[in-house]
Amino acid sequence: MTRRIAVDGMFLTLAIVVSYIEVLLPIPVGIPGVKIGLANGVIMVLLFFTGWKRALFISVLRILLAGMLFGNPMTIVYSLAGGILSIFLMALLKKAGGFSAVGLSVAGGVAHNLGQLSVAVCLMENVRIYYYTPILLVTGTIAGIAIGVLTAGLVKKVPANLFQ
């Protein structure tokens, strides 16, 4: 149990640090939701080694803390919708089998974008925001591939006995 708390704390810290790195390196395109998704790499390592429940737990804590530190209450709401949808879809595809980290990460990235966009549509009561769907599908795929490759490398390096 102590070990589990320590490892969870370590991954949560790592996820918050990479969130901060993303705040420092914004992608200046003016399109809401375009980002690299570094934190998803950390969450995916958890998903691979410990299953979706622990990954979801750390992801939700990460979003709440990073939102309070670097965002505002609204960004927490958008990120939660995207983050939760993303983990469920990745867990589902992982269970279905036949996908590598790259496929999971692309699905997760795109799900995050679409979940976030859908919440924005509901909150702002404006369907026009779906205007950004095609561009987000493209940027989500590119970011997803990059994070997937990164995760596949990490999964090979991280010792599996860390999660015992």
């Binding site: 609204m74 009561e125 404006n126 769907t133 095609p134 561009i135």
Partner: protein
Amino acid sequence: MKRRDIVLIGVVLFMAAVGFLFLSLVKQDGEKAVVTVDGKEVWSHSLSEDAVYTVKSRNGSNVVRIQGGKASVTEADCPDQICRKHKAIDKTGETIVCLPHKLVVEIKDGTKEKEYDGITI
């Protein structure tokens, strides 16, 4: 990368292509910029006339500018500044969104809407 990864990426990019095609077919030159906060219209102005409007709500403030037939957000006190970096817009359906402030600037076709208003079924 496995075969299913490539199929997945292909499907997503195909959907994006369909989306882009659809957007390019429906877009046309807009007539006015409409600003909404929380889904409620707070300002509307013709694109043919330059104007500046400061939107103040309990969420925060944004400055919307119409210049040379295009609308843009020139200032905002939100954390991400995404709306400010967005290019100026002038085609119907185009939007600038400030997620933290729940603000949307969108371009509308002023005349068409009036026509629809006149039809009662």
